[in-house]
Point group: C2
Chain length 926, copies 2
C-alpha cells in the first residue's frame, strides 16, 4: 500500500494538466489546466483528482495515502508563484475551493471563496485593500459560505442574522452596512456556528482546506447529486475533482480592476476587443451593477501595456479555441489575471459574421463555419423586427396591450382595420394596415394579402389566420384571448383600454406581443445580407437534401427562389379559390355540385346510344349549367395562376396539389347564416336574398361533418366530383403548354392529396391521365408532367409499397400525418391540452413544431423503405411545417429523403440545417 | 408420332375417371366420372381430355392422332348402354356437349343440347314423345344454340326471326307458338345459317359433333376466356375438356318426369327426402314454373320402387359427399337418371341441425360440423325476426313505409313514441314501444332502454342511436333520410303518409325496412336452441381464441355469459353516465370542472405548509363544492354499477374502461341551447333558467371542437381532471372489495383509453395506483386488479413496445384505430363517400365491418409483436366491432391475440368463427 501511495499522483498543478484530462481532473480542472498551458496568466492553483474522491468515498472517508502531502506541496508551489503565504497575516494567500466533475452537475457543492481567512489574515486583507469594510464583508461571507456548504448549516440561520443587522441599522441593502456592522455580523455568525455544531468555527486555514476538500468529496454522493445522475444517466463511479485556486483581488487600488472582454463584438461580430472594466473593484461588483463600468477602451488609454496584453491573450484564445471568447479578467496591482474564458454568446448577426470572417482569417473551415450558426438564428436575421430599444421603451410606457399566440413570426406596424374590405380600401390609398379580427375565414383572405400583419382574438397555431399568414409570410398574433373585437362599434381592446379602427398598432408575431402605437421595425433585404449569403453558399456545397418552398402565389415563389429554393414542394390551389373575386364562383360551383353530379351520373348510366341526347338535355338543367359555368370560369383563372407560378419557377420542379379542403370551408359559417336568415326574416325584406341564404344553409348543413379532418376532402372530392380535378389538370397542362410555346422551361408535378388506399390514386390518376392526353392532343404538344401523392394518412404510409406503383413522387404531409397518427386535432388541442402536455412533459415537445420521430417518424421511415423498394426512382419530399425545423430536417436527411419544402422565409434556415445534418451524419459515420 | 398417338388416351368414358382427375378431365368431367363411379344412374357419356385441347390448339387446329377414333368408340359404348343410336331416325341418341376446364370459367363456350338432331332424327323424337311441338321446339333451339356457340352467328339474327314469328302469330310468349309455327321458325333459322355462313347447316350428327368439339377447344382461347384467366391468375396452358353426354327426356309419357330432391329438408334440416317432381315434363319445365310440380311424396305413392331407388341414391350420395345434397333427376320411361348433385343450399336452422345430426350419424367429425355452418348464419338464428310470409304480405299491402340504414340487426314491433319520456311512461304501462326520433342523444338513452327498437331519421352506422342500440342488442334503423319527424305535431311519416304517436310500427334492423302496422316476430330463447349449443360446444373445444363480450350493464353481462362469453372485454363507463337520473349530476360535474380544477391546481402550487389551509378555503368555493359533490354522487352510483356487473361476471375477467368521450357529449347541443335561450328571452320568463342556460352555453362553446374525434377525450380527460378517473377507480375497487367480502370472486381489469404516448399511461397509472393502494389500505383488504390500455391511436400501435412497459394488457379498439389510420370519420363518411367507395370498389369492403388487414392490420401485427417482445405475459384482445366479424377473427387468431370481444349477440358467432379460424390455420400448417 505504501508503495502504491507513493506512486499515485493525486494532485495536479494547473500547468501539469491539459484539456484531454477531463476524466481525471473534471471539466473545470481540465479547462483551468488548458488555459494555464496556453500560457494565460491564470491565478495559480491545483486540482485534486476524481480518483482521490473515489478512494476517499469508498474507503469510508479517509484521504488516500499521500494525497494530503501532495496537496500541501502544491499549496507551497502556489505560495511561491504568488509571493503570498497561506495563513500569513501580512500578505495572506486566500484560495477558492470548487467541485468539478467530468460532467457539469448542479446537484453538487459549488464554491467556497476566500478560504484561508480568519481574524488575523483578515487584518492583512484589510491593510492590503485599504478597505476594512471589504475585508469584513469577505470574512462574514466566508463564514456564511463555509458554514453552509462545508459545515452543512441551514442558510436561514445566517439570513436571519443579516436581516436583523439591517433592521438594527435601519438599512435595506447589504451594501449599506458599515464595516463595524459587518464585523458584528461576522461575530454573530461565529456564535451561530458554535451553537449549531457545538464547535468553534475552524480558524486554521489548513483545517479549513481539509474540511472543504472533504465536503467536496462527500457532495458527490449527496441525494441531489445522486438523483441528478440517475436522471441524466451519468455513472455513479466517476467521482468529482477539487479545484483549489488563488484568490485575486481587483480592488487593491487604482491599478487594480475587474472586467469582461469579448474577443469580437457580440452584437455585430466586428473583430475588435469589446467589453467593460471597473477599476478598483471585484468581479462581482461588475455583475451587481452598482457602479457603472467603463468601456474596455479606457484600459487602452490608462494602461496601454495591459490592454495590449489583453488583446494578445484574446488573439491567443481565439486561435486556441477557434472561436470568439467571452473572457473574465482581474487586474491585481497592475498584474492581469484571466479567471475564465468561454465561447462568447452572440446575436444572430454576429454569429454569421464571425463564422464567415474566421473562414477568411483561415481560423476555421467552411464546414466549421456552417456548424457555428444555429439555423433558428437565421430567422432572426431575415424577419422584420422591432427595434429592441424602441420596444423596451414602449413596454416602459405601458403600451403593451396584450399577449397572444405567436402564430407567424415577424413584426408589423400600421393602422388597425377591422374588416378585410376596409383593409383593401385603405391599403389601396397607400396606408399600411394591420387586420384585426375575432378570427379569420376565407372571406378575409383578400384583406390579409394587403395587410402588414394579422391579429385575431380566437384560434390556435393552425387556425385559418395562422396558416394563411404563415403562407403569406406575414406576421400574425392569433388567439389573443383577452382581446375583445366589437365589429359593430368598430373598436377593439382589452378590459378598459379601447382602440378604434384607424388607431396605430404594432404586433410582434415572434413573441405574440401586441402594442398600442407605432414601433419602428428593422428590415434588411436578403440581397444585402452578404455574409449570410456566403455562409448559405457553403451550406449548399455541403448538403445533400434539396430545399424547396411551399408557395401558392407567383410573388411567394419569387421570394422563395431569391431565398435559394430549388423548387416548390407545395402549391395549394385552394388558396387561389379563397381570393375575393373568385369566392362567388367557387360557391356557385359548390351549391350546384351535388345536383349536377347526380344529373351527370344519371346520363352516364344510360345506354351508350341514348347518352348524347340525354347529355344535351342535362346541360340545360339549371344546376348543371351553373356548375359547368363555374368550372369554366375557374379553369380560366387557374390557368392564369399556374402560368404565373410556373413562369417564375422557370423549369424548377413545382408540385401543385389538387383541391384538398372540405368544401364547407368555402361557404359561410352555419351560425352566421342562421343569424343572417333570422335577421332578414325579422326585417321582412329581401325574399331573393332569403331564398339564396336558405339554399346556402341547406348545402352547409348537407356538408357539415362531425370530424371534417377525417371527412370528405382531398382525393375523395376528386373521386366524387371528377370535373373539379379534371379542370385543375387542364389548367396546369394548358399553363405549361403556353409557357413551352414561349420557350420557357416547365417542370410541373401534380399531387393528389389524402390518398389512403392505392385504388384512390389509381382511379384518380387514370382519369387525369386521360385529361392530360386530351390537352396534349388538342395542342399537338408534348407537355412534361408527373403524378404523385401526398403521404398524410397513416394507411398510406403503411401501404406505401402499393401506392408507389402509381406515384412518381411522395410528399410527406407531416402536419396531417401527425394529427392522425397521434389523434390530435391541432387547432382544438393547442389550447385545450397540448400546451399542458408539453409544459408538464407528458410530451417531450410540441409534435407540430418538431417531428415525433418515435411515432410519426416510424411511419415515414417505413414508407420510404417500402416506396423505394417498389420504385427506386421514387422522388421523396416533405411539405409539412416540419420541413423547416432543424431537428426534423436531420431526421429527413438520415432517412434518405430527397428534399424538404418549407415556407419561403424558412428556406435559408433549411439550407443551413440540411448542411449541418449532412455534417453530423458524416461525423457519426466516421 | 404414330406410336405416341396409339398410346395416348384422349377420351375417357365417365366410369373410367374419378374426382381426382380434375387436371385431365376438368371439374365437370371429374364430377360426372365420380357420380358414375359411385354407381349412380348418370346418363352415359364421355370426356375428351384437356391435353387433347392443348394438342389441338398448339397444333394449329388438328385433332391429335387417335382422338377422333377414340371419340367414335366412346360414342359406340354409349349407344350400347342406352340402346339408342346416334343419327337413328327411330330411336335417336341425342347428346349434350359442354366445355369443362379445371376451374369454372364463365368466359368459355357453355353448352349445346340435343346434338344429333336433324330433320330425320327429329321425327323419331316426335314419335317417342308423342309431342311434335316439343320435337320442333327442340330442333329450332338446337339450330339456334349450335348456330350461336358453334358457328358463331350473331344471336340477334335468331331473336329477330323468333320475334317476327310471334308477331305473325299474335302471341307474346315462345310457349304459345304451335308446332307448325316452330317448324317454320326452324326453317327460317336454317335459311339464316345459310345466308350468314354461305353453307348449309350441318345435318350429319357426326359432323355436328366434330364441329362442337372443335368449338369447345377453340373457346379456350377466345378473348373473354383469356381476359378472365388473366384477371383470375389462371394459367393459360391448362386447356379445357369436352363432355359429351346422352340426353334423357322426362317427357316421354306418364312413366317419365323430372324433379329436384334434397336429401334433407333445406329449411329445417330434417332427415327426410324433400323435393318436387313434375311428371311427363323436362327439367326446364320444373324451373319455368308453368305447371305446378308435385311433392316428392307423390313419387312414393305412384312409383314406390323408383322412390326407394331415389332414397337409396340420396343416402349413397350423402355418404359419398358427406353432406346434404341437392339432386336433379329425370325419369325416362320408368328409368331414373341422376343429372346433377351438389351440396344443398340450406337455411341457418337447417345448417346447424344437419351438421349436428351428421356427427350423430357418424358421417362427419365434430371439426367438420363446425366448418359446415357459416358464422353469420348463427345471427339469423338468434335474432328475433319477422315471419317472412307476414312480411311479404305487408309489402304486398303497401305497408313498407321507408328504408333506412340497417344499424342494429333484429326485428321489432310496437307502438311509436316520439320522446324518451313517453317511451318510459308507456313501457311502464306494459306497452311495447318503438322509439322514433330525428336522431338520438344521451338524453334519450332511458327511452332506448325500454323500447323494443329505435328508428331515426338522421345519423349513420355509428351515430349515437346505432351504437347504443347495438350495445343494448336492440334493433335499430338509422338515417332514414325520407322520414320526417314532427315533434311538435307528434307525427312522423314519409311524403304524404303521416303516422301519429301511438300508431303501430315495425322495423327490421337487419334490412333497414320500416313498416306501418304490426308484423309478427319469431324469437327463440338461446337455451332452447339445443343443436346450436351442441355445435358451439364443439367449437369451444377447438378454438384457441377466447371470446368475450362488450357489455355495459349487468343484464347485458348476464346475457353475454349465457351466450358463452368468457369475460367482458369492454365495459363502457360513460353509458352509465348517460342514464337519465345521472345526467344532471354529470352536467353539474362538467359545468364546474374547469373552475374547480383551476382552483385545486392553484392550491397545489402553494408551499406545502400553506396547502391545508388553502384547501379548506378552496373547498368552500362554489365550483369546487359542486364539482366535489357531483364526483361523490357519481362515485356512489358507479360503485353500484360495478358491483352489479362484477357480481354477474363472478370472477371472469372484466375490462372496465375509464371515461372516454369528450365531455360535450353529455351536454345539450349548441343549436338547441341557442334556440332555447332565444325562446326564453322572447318570452321574457325564467331569469334563473336563462342564467343556467347561458352558463351551459358558455361551457358548450368552451368545449366545442372542430374534430372531437382527435380532441380532448380519453386519458386526456383523465390527465386534465384527475378526480374523475380517481373516482372511477375508487368505485371499481370498492365494488370489488364488497364482493370479496361476500366471498364472490372478482377479476377487474382497468382500461385507460386513447393512450398515444407512453408518458400518458405512465402518469395516469401512477396516480391511479396510489388511489388503489389507498382503497386497499382503508379496507385492509387485498383487492386484485390490473391496469392496461386501449390501442386505438396509430401512434400507440407504433410505439407499443414502450407502452407495454406500463400495461398488463392491450385491447385493440379497432373502430377508432380504423378511423384514424384511414382518416375516415365513420359517421361522416358512411353517407358521404364510404358507401360510394365500397359500391365502386374503390375500397374492397367496408373497413368498419371487416378489418383492413393491409393497413390497420399491419399496425396491430406490429403492436402485438413489439408488445409481446417487451412483455411476454401481455394479454392481448380486441374490443372493436371487428371482434365479432368472422374474417377479422381469422386475422386475430393468426396474429396470436388472446381473445376477441364483441356485442353479446355476436358471441356465438365469434365462438364458431374462432373455431373455424383455428381449423383453417391447422390445415394451412399441415
Amino acid at each position: 500500500m505504501v508503495s502504491a501511495a507513493t506512486e499515485t499522483k493525486w494532485v495536479y498543478l494547473f500547468n501539469e494538466g491539459n484539456a484531454s484530462m477531463r476524466d481525471l481532473l473534471g471539466g473545470k480542472g481540465a479547462g483551468l489546466a488548458e488555459m494555464s498551458n496556453v500560457g494565460l496568466p491564470v491565478p495559480p492553483g491545483f486540482t485534486i483528482t476524481t480518483t482521490a474522491c473515489i478512494a476517499y468515498t469508498t474507503s469510508g472517508g479517509v484521504f488516500p495515502p499521500g494525497m494530503w502531502e501532495q496537496t500541501l506541496k502544491a499549496l507551497h508551489a502556489i505560495e511561491q508563484a504568488t509571493g503570498k503565504r497561506f495563513g500569513d497575516r501580512q500578505n495572506p494567500l486566500l484560495v477558492s475551493v470548487r467541485s468539478g466533475a467530468k460532467f457539469s452537475m448542479p446537484g453538487m457543492m459549488d464554491t467556497v471563496l476566500n478560504l484561508g481567512l480568519n481574524e488575523e489574515t483578515l487584518q492583512g486583507l484589510s491593510a492590503l485593500t485599504g478597505n476594512p469594510r471589504f475585508a469584513y464583508d469577505a470574512w462574514r461571507r466566508f463564514i456564511q459560505m463555509f458554514g453552509k456548504v462545508v459545515l452543512d448549516l441551514p442558510a436561514e440561520r445566517f439570513e436571519a442574522i443579516l436581516d436583523e443587522a439591517k433592521r438594527t441599522a435601519g438599512v435595506r441593502l447589504d451594501t449599506e452596512l458599515t464595516a463595524d456592522a459587518l464585523r458584528h455580523v461576522a461575530e454573530r455568525y461565529l456564535d451561530a456556528v458554535r451553537a449549531e455544531t457545538g464547535k468553534e468555527f475552524p480558524r486554521d486555514p489548513f483545517e479549513q482546506l481539509r474540511l472543504a476538500i472533504e465536503a467536496v468529496f462527500l457532495s458527490w454522493n449527496n441525494p441531489r447529486a445522486v438523483a441528478y445522475r440517475e436522471f441524466n444517466k451519468i455513472p455513479h463511479d466517476l467521482g468529482t475533482a477539487v479545484n483549489v485556486q488563488t484568490m485575486v483581488f481587483g480592488n487593491l487600488g487604482d491599478d487594480s480592476g475587474s472586467g469582461v472582454a469579448f474577443t469580437r463584438n457580440p452584437s455585430t461580430g466586428e473583430r475588435r476587443l469589446y467589453g467593460e472594466i471597473l477599476f478598483n473593484a471585484q468581479g462581482e461588483d461588475v455583475v451587481a451593477g452598482i457602479r457603472t463600468p467603463k468601456r474596455i477602451d479606457e484600459l487602452e488609454v490608462e494602461f496601454p501595456v495591459l490592454y495590449q496584453q489583453l488583446v494578445e491573450i484574446a488573439n491567443r484564445l481565439e486561435h486556441h479555441y477557434r472561436d470568439a471568447q467571452d473572457i473574465e479578467f482581474t487586474i491585481e496591482r497592475g498584474k492581469l489575471y484571466i479567471l475564465q474564458t468561454r465561447a462568447a454568446k452572440r446575436t444572430a448577426d454576429a454569429a454569421v459574421r464571425i463564422a464567415v470572417d474566421m473562414v477568411g482569417e483561415g481560423l476555421i473551415t467552411k464546414q466549421e463555419a456552417v456548424q457555428r450558426v444555429e439555423p433558428e438564428q437565421v430567422v432572426q436575421i431575415l424577419l422584420p423586427r422591432f427595434d429592441e430599444t424602441a420596444k423596451a421603451a414602449a413596454i416602459a410606457e405601458g403600451r403593451l396591450l396584450a399577449k397572444g399566440l405567436n402564430a407567424s413570426p415577424g413584426a408589423a406596424t400600421g393602422v388597425a382595420v377591422l374588416t378585410a374590405d376596409k383593409a383593401v380600401e385603405w391599403a389601396h390609398r397607400g396606408r399600411r394596415v394591420v387586420l384585426v379580427r375575432p378570427e379569420t375565414n376565407p372571406d378575409d383572405v383578400h384583406g390579409m394579402i394587403v395587410a402588414e400583419g394579422v391579429l385575431t382574438a380566437r384560434g390556435g397555431a393552425t387556425s385559418h389566420a395562422a396558416v394563411v399568414a404563415r403562407g403569406l409570410g406575414k406576421p400574425c398574433v392569433a388567439g389573443t384571448e383577452a382581446l375583445n373585437v366589437d365589429l359593430e362599434a368598430s373598436t377593439f381592446g382589452v378590459d378598459g383600454r379601447i382602440l378604434h379602427e384607424g388607431d396605430e398598432l404594432s404586433i410582434d408575431g415572434t413573441t405574440g406581443e401586441v402594442f398600442i402605437g407605432r414601433i419602428p421595425t428593422i428590415d434588411r433585404p436578403f440581397a444585402e445580407l452578404t455574409d449570410l449569403r456566403t455562409l448559405l453558399g457553403w451550406a449548399d456545397e455541403i448538403r445533400r437534401l434539396g430545399v424547396w418552398a411551399n408557395a401558392d402565389y407567383p410573388r411567394d415563389a419569387d421570394r422563395a427562389v431569391q431565398f435559394g429554393a430549388e423548387g416548390i414542394g407545395l402549391c395549394r390551389t385552394e388558396h387561389m379559390f379563397f381570393e375575393e373575386e373568385r369566392l362567388p364562383v367557387v360557391r356557385q360551383l359548390i351549391l350546384n355540385a351535388r345536383a349536377a353530379q347526380a344529373e351527370l351520373e344519371r346520363v352516364e348510366a344510360l345506354p351508350a346510344s341514348e347518352r348524347p341526347a340525354a347529355l344535351a338535355v342535362a346541360r340545360q338543367h339549371e344546376a348543371v349549367r351553373l356548375y359547368r359555368e363555374a368550372i369554366e370560369q375557374l379553369e380560366r383563372v387557374q390557368t392564369d395562376d399556374f402560368r404565373g407560378i410556373l413562369r417564375v419557377m422557370a423549369g424548377r420542379p413545382t408540385v401543385i396539389r389538387l383541391l384538398d379542403p372540405p368544401l364547407h370551408e368555402f361557404l359561410p359559417r352555419h351560425e352566421d347564416l342562421v343569424r343572417r336568415i333570422e335577421q332578414v326574416e325579422r326585417e321582412g325584406s329581401g325574399t331573393d336574398e332569403l331564398a339564396e341564404l336558405r339554399a346556402t344553409l341547406a348545402t352547409v348543413e348537407e356538408l357539415r361533418e362531425a370530424n371534417p379532418m377525417l371527412g370528405l376532402r382531398g382525393c375523395r372530392l376528386g373521386i366524387l366530383y371528377p370535373d373539379i380535378y379534371a379542370m385543375q389538370v387542364r389548367a396546369i397542362l394548358n399553363a405549361a403548354g403556353d409557357l413551352i410555346a414561349e420557350r420557357i422551361p416547365v417542370h410541373a408535378e401534380i399531387m393528389i392529396p389524402l390518398v389512403g388506399h392505392v385504388n384512390e390514386l389509381k382511379l384518380v390518376r387514370e382519369r387525369l391521365e386521360a385529361v392530360a392526353r386530351d390537352v396534349q392532343e388538342k395542342r399537338r404538344l408534348q407537355i412534361p408532367y408527373q403524378f404523385g401523392t401526398m403521404i398524410e394518412v397513416p394507411r398510406a404510409a403503411l401501404t406505401a409499397g402499393e401506392i408507389a406503383q402509381y406515384a412518381e413522387f411522395f410528399s410527406f404531409g407531416t402536419n396531417d400525418l401527425t394529427q392522425m397518427t397521434m389523434a390530435i386535432s391541432r387547432d382544438d388541442a393547442e389550447g385545450k391540452f397540448l400546451l399542458h402536455y408539453v409544459n408538464r412533459k407528458v410530451l417531450p415537445f410540441n409534435p407540430f413544431q418538431q417531428l415525433d420521430q418515435a411515432g410519426v417518424g416510424k411511419l415515414i421511415a417505413l414508407a420510404v423503405q417500402e416506396g423505394r423498394r417498389v420504385k427506386p426512382s421514387l422522388q421523396l419530399g416533405v411539405c409539412g411545417e416540419h420541413g423547416g425545423d432543424p431537428a426534423s430536417i436531420a431526421f429527413f436527411h438520415a432517412n434518405g429523403l430527397d428534399y424538404v419544402s418549407c415556407s419561403p422565409f424558412r428556406v435559408p434556415v433549411a439550407r443551413l440545417a440540411a448542411a449541418q445534418a449532412a455534417l453530423s451524419a458524416r461525423e457519426r459515420d466516421r
